[in-house]
Amino acid sequence: MTGRSPSLLVRDARRSIPLYLMLLPALVYLAIFAYVPIWGARLAFMDFSFTGNYTWVGLKHFKTLFSSPIFGSVLLNTVIISGMKIFINFPMPIILALMLAEVRGQKLKKTVQSVIYLPHFLSWVVIAGIFINLLSLNEGAINKILTLLGMKSFPFLTNRTSIRWVFVFSEMWRSIGWDSLLYVAAIIRIDPEVYEAAVIDGAGTFRRIWSITLPAIMPTMVTIFILNLGFFMDAGFDQVFNLMNDAVMSSVDILDTYVYRMGLQNGEFSYATAAGLFKGVIGLILIFGTHVTSKKITGKGVW
């Protein structure tokens, strides 16, 4: 709390009673349906048994996780893939929203807006199928075009470097439309008169965007960026699981696919829970770290 005197605080609290009441249902819900199961995650520190007799084993499962010979590379892959995705796929929806805002005339805008979100609804099983078909060495459309143009066909899916780019771009294809929604909503609120004034002042397109649009959507951008950092260690299990193949395991095996292979498939729930806790802790550190930093620099954070 800011350094307000206790009596002022009490007065504020009393005045805020209606607000607390509005907040209460959500808090109660979370206490029951989120926190009780989270308490169940202490399974990570126990040996699991169907009969319900759990034995406390402390950090044993974490040790097993960290001591695997490929844990290092798995962790690295997770960080690299997540990092690439954030670097490319964070700005893209913003750029898309800006592009949409620049379109005069409703028809084109409406048409484009009604289709770009479509891929988001497809599951990764389907999308992986699409991209595998597209990028196959022999039969893929892209390679067929390349050979037609006289170039050599490229093994997009089996090359250890290019496969990561396939992840990034397939993710972008899937989500750019959907993710741009929030930014479009934020841009809507900008008073058109501000733009008009800027144009009269002689501001060009980019000047307008830089001075008006971007600052206006900055809070949204910062919020989304920081929140997404909470999921940094996820790197997209569904996508990786469906798009990976034996040839590129070493560069795309992420934490979740590794845990799936080792843990879940053998009923090793404690192990899987331990990995989940590990991911969560990192995510939490990232969120609070960036939040505090962002507040210091820009005055804005998640709250």
């Binding site: 709390m1 605080l9 504020d12 609290a13 805020s16 607000l19 509005m22 907040l23 249902p25 959500a26 808090l27 819900y29 979370l30 349906f33 009780v36 199961p37 989270i38 169940g40 995650a41 399974l43 592009m99 949409l100 620049e102 379109v103 084109l108 484009v112 807006q113 009604s114 289709v115 770009i116 479509l118 891929p119 609804f121 497809l122 389907v126 078909n133 597209l134 459309a141 750019i176 439309g177 929030l182 479009v184 909503a185 809507i188 609120r189 058109p192 008009e196 144009v199 397109t205 809070p219 949204t220 989304i224 929140l227 999921f231 729930f269 989940g276 969560g280 995510g283 939490l284 709250w303």
Partner: protein, 297 residues
């Protein structure tokens, strides 16, 4: 508005071109799936991701899917669960977001941390299941309706939107003697249409697509939502593609063949169709001028 500039700059054309390309690239795969779902059995094996029109067109695939009472019941279940779920979602989330968007709220930081932790940590399937069991909610629609009823991510987004409401409006409401609840309903919500619409859409899509928890919590198949039913039409790699689907569908006419590829495509389209129809309605809230009736600064 500046009506004098009719000609587009080069940048303007480039912009439109890029947008059109994006629209095409995102639209085509769905279109292709529709084509596959309408392709006849003789040509389906050769049909692939680049097919532009259905050869030997037939409605049999959709006929088979829609004539199964399971599918229709699944649809009804999905609509019910989604509607009830979103209602709960929006009520809880909007109220909480409004409260947390008021800067003067003592303890706000604590609440925010409380909420964000739930975004990152999850107990997982087993603790969730055991909790539902303890609450005797297994096989009850409520277990699915209440699944992730408060999504921390969406909640924070909503708080952001509410924070952007001009203070002058809130103060005007205060002066007029409106209660907090009234302020939310009459002042804040109308002005945040786009944001509220977005979050509603997010929650709707979440409920509509949810299949795993529904399958696990609801042991009575009559309660299963559409996604669960449709997903089971696509059996795993254990048996050859044809087996499970037909027996599950019980398609009567022996002469008609439903091919797995067409079936899969049809299933996907059917699963996303209702949401697709919802989206244009949503776009209305994104029209400029959502700030109509606001106080002039």
């Amino acid at each position: 508005m500046l009506r004098s500039v009719r000609r587009l700059s080069v940048g303007g054309y480039a912009n439109r071109a890029l947008l059109l390309i994006l629209a095409f690239v995102t639209f085509f795969p769905i279109y292709n799936l529709v084509v596959l779902s309408l392709t006849g059995p003789k040509y389906i094996a050769a049909a692939d991701g680049l097919s532009i029109y259905p050869k030997g067109p037939t409605l049999d695939t959709y006929g088979a899917l829609l004539s199964t009472p399971k599918v229709l019941r699944g649809l009804a279940n999905s609509v019910f669960i989604t509607a009830a779920g979103v209602f709960v979602n929006m009520t809880l989330t909007t109220m909480a977001a409004y409260a947390l968007s008021r800067t003067r709220l003592p303890g706000k930081r604590v609440f925010m941390v409380f909420i964000i932790i739930t975004m990152i940590f999850e107990g997982g399937l087993i603790p969730d299941y055991l909790l539902m069991r303890k609450l005797h909610l297994l096989n009850n629609y409520l277990s699915v309706i209440l699944y992730k009823a408060v999504n921390a991510y969406y909640l924070v987004i909503m708080i952001r939107f509410f924070e952007e409401v001009p203070i002058s409006l809130i103060e005007a409401a205060r002066i007029d003697g409106l209660s907090e609840a009234r302020t939310l309903l009459s002042v804040v919500l109308p002005v945040s249409k786009a944001g509220v619409a977005s979050v509603s859409l997010f929650y709707t899509v979440f409920h509509w697509n949810e299949y795993f928890r529904a399958m696990v919590y609801l042991t009575d198949p009559n309660k299963w939502p559409l996604q669960v039913i449709l997903r089971q039409l696509i059996v795993g790699s254990d048996k050859a593609s044809f087996l499970g689907a037909l027996s599950y569908l019980k398609y009567e006419t022996g002469a008609v063949q439903i091919d797995m590829k067409a079936l899969k495509a049809g299933v996907i389209i059917l699963a996303i169709l209702p949401i697709l129809m919802l989206y244009p309605i949503l776009l209305k809230y994104f029209a400029k001028g959502a700030l109509s009736g606001a106080v002039k600064e």
